[in-house]
Amino acid sequence: MSNASLATKPEQPSSNVSTTEPPMRRRRGVNREGLEAGRRSTRTILWILLAAAMVLYGFPFLYLLFTSFKTPIDTIAVPPTILPREWTLENYTNALGRSGVVASFINSIQTAVISTVLSLVLAVPAAYGITRYKTPSGQVFIMAALVTRMVPPVAIGIPLASMMASVGLADTPIALSIAHTTISLPLSIWLMSSFFESVPRDLEEAATVDGCSRLGALWRVVIPVVSGGIAVTAIFAFLASWNEFLFALLMTAIRSQTTPVVIANFQTQFGLDWGSMTALAAVYSIPVILLTLLLQRKIVAGMTLGAVKG
């Protein structure tokens, strides 16, 4: 796994680059001299290709947005139109006016926040223990965390739900956030491990020489250095919980239902109310899309690391 992650770390030249021709390092990468297209005509064609791909890729979500501003009747008009004939917020007022919708937003936020905090509190020390003291148990642990990723949620959802019920936590955001943490914790451990890996060891050594305890060095010296990494990990844990559906479906009833379950329920409970569904889906998706686009640079770095490791 280590060589694979090396190969995808954008900041770190892979070993064969640095060994073949050290002076060329600045110009490493396929860009510039390798793959980057030279001729003007080729470049124009490629830009047109990219534009076409972006339109195709962006269109589905734009269509969802446009549809959410149509009148409820126009949403299912035959043949459908791309743009609304008449722009209205009716779908939004309908969707948000439904009983349980606003409550589900609060549940989603609560669940995601608890799960994020729980993931970080558990993952940060564990990842530090794994990367700083390369003990055999640490290596076993990180492999075990990887295997956890393969467990299908449908397989543990029901036993988890009955465990929660037996301790009186049935249908609560706490129970659901614990379930979500089973997904985000392994990912968070992998992510945090790679962030700790990049912290120079001398830093804590200097701190311990100055009389800091090991825990003190972690808390006062290392944690501040990796705070950016912690933020990225937090975003991933938050997103994992925010978008999760299966555990939410299995473990919540009326009280702690999150918005994805409510969106899915629109289909059965109220017939096929496409207008409200698209409006609610838009309201649920846009904040996270904007947030991640704003923080994109950090997230891209984290995603490549997490992707390759977790």
């Binding site: 694979a4 190969a7 995808t8 770390k9 954008p10 030249p13 070993s15 073949t20 021709e21 060329m24 990468g29 396929v30 860009n31 001299e33 390798g34 793959l35 297209a37 470049r43 490629l46 990219l50 972006m54 962006g58 589905p60 269509y63 299912i76 035959v78 043949p79 459908p80 509190v121 558990l122 020390p125 564990a126 223990g129 794994i130 700083r132 003291y133 003990t135 965390a145 295997v147 393969m150 467990v151 299908p152 949620p153 449908v154 397989a155 543990i156 029901i158 036993p159 009955s162 465990m163 614990i178 089973t182 978008n243 299966l246 994805p260 899915a264 698209t278 889906a281 899309i289 390759v308």
Partner: protein, 295 residues
């Protein structure tokens, strides 16, 4: 000093390990245990030990074997298309260089969208009668009737249709990982090959792909595991229908448990499913990735 360091590391890992033991390992143990019982779906109902009966039922049921094949086909379709599209986009972004950076970011947006929303969105595009895709193809003169292709209602193609949202959601992920890998291929190497007269296909197949191998392997395995567990997008689009034609393993287990009220059988299916995933992932990792060869 050594030992106390070791102990300190152990203390740091203990909370997370305990958490995973209680909330992942124990439920898994319960799952396996339940698979040997005939369980009444009513809480507190009877629970009779039946040995391997549930496993026999699972393996002899057509629904189970069909769901297994469907899951495999679904995973292969999703991962193959994602890889091809993701590599194409990664190469496109790489050849366009720095100026394409903002588009690279925009290209990532589906990764933030909940799978349930993506499934809903594509269902809306593909649905019979008022789906936009059929209408557009009709207006372009490709289809004689907007409903000529029953994307989600024709049992022969539905398994591919339900895969589309999954592909749309995570091609960005493939692209991102492959793009990062491409940045680490030494430009001089490509330049040298080009001077030697290598053309684009040779560059791709002889140099780029072999060098990307570890990255490709990890990306394929990670995405393969996720695709094999797909649930949200399929449930919202077809609920496994029509005629179970899009019922993959996750859906079958879910329905066996919830709709047909047979937790024992569902647990047996879940256990087989998990073991199969572990076995396939292990083989995949061992063959394509070849770990432990640090250079």
């Amino acid at each position: 000093m050594r030992i106390s360091d070791r102990r300190f590391a152990l203390y740091l890992m203990t909370p997370a390990a305990l958490f995973l033991a209680v909330f992942v390992a124990y439920p898994l143990f319960r799952l396996v245990a339940d698979s040997f019982f005939k369980i009444s779906p009513i809480a507190g109902g009877p629970r009779d030990f039946v040995g391997f009966q549930n496993y026999v039922t699972a393996f002899t049921s057509e629904a189970f074997t069909n769901a297994g094949w469907r899951t495999l086909a679904y995973t292969l379709v999703v991962v193959t298309l994602e890889f091809a599209l993701g590599l194409g986009m990664a190469l496109l972004f790489t050849t366009l260089g720095k100026k394409s950076q903002i588009w690279r970011t925009v290209f990532l947006y589906p990764l933030m969208i909940a799978p349930i929303v993506a499934g809903l969105l594509w269902k809306f595009l593909m649905i019979d009668n008022f789906g936009l895709i059929g209408t557009l193809l009709h207006q372009a003169g490709i289809l004689s009737d907007p409903n000529q292709i029953g994307w989600l209602s024709d049992p022969n193609i539905v398994l591919f249709s339900v895969a589309i949202p999954d592909i749309w959601l995570t091609t960005s992920f493939m692209c991102l990982v492959l793009f990062a890998g491409l940045q680490n291929i030494p430009g001089d190497l490509l330049e040298a090959a080009r001077l030697d007269g290598a053309r684009a296909p040779a560059l791709l197949f002889r140099i780029i792909l072999p060098l990307l191998r570890p990255v490709i392997a990890v990306a394929l395995v990670v995405r393969g595991i996720d695709a094999a567990r797909a649930f949200d997008t399929i449930l919202i689009q077809t609920n496994g229908g029509p005629q179970s034609a899009s019922e993959t393993m996750s859906l079958l287990i879910y329905r066996t448990m919830i709709r047909f009220g047979d937790p024992g059988l569902a647990s047996a299916m879940g256990t087989i499913y998990l073991l199969a995933m572990l076995a396939i992932a292990f083989v995949a990792v061992a063959t394509i990735w070849r770990p432990g060869k640090d250079n």
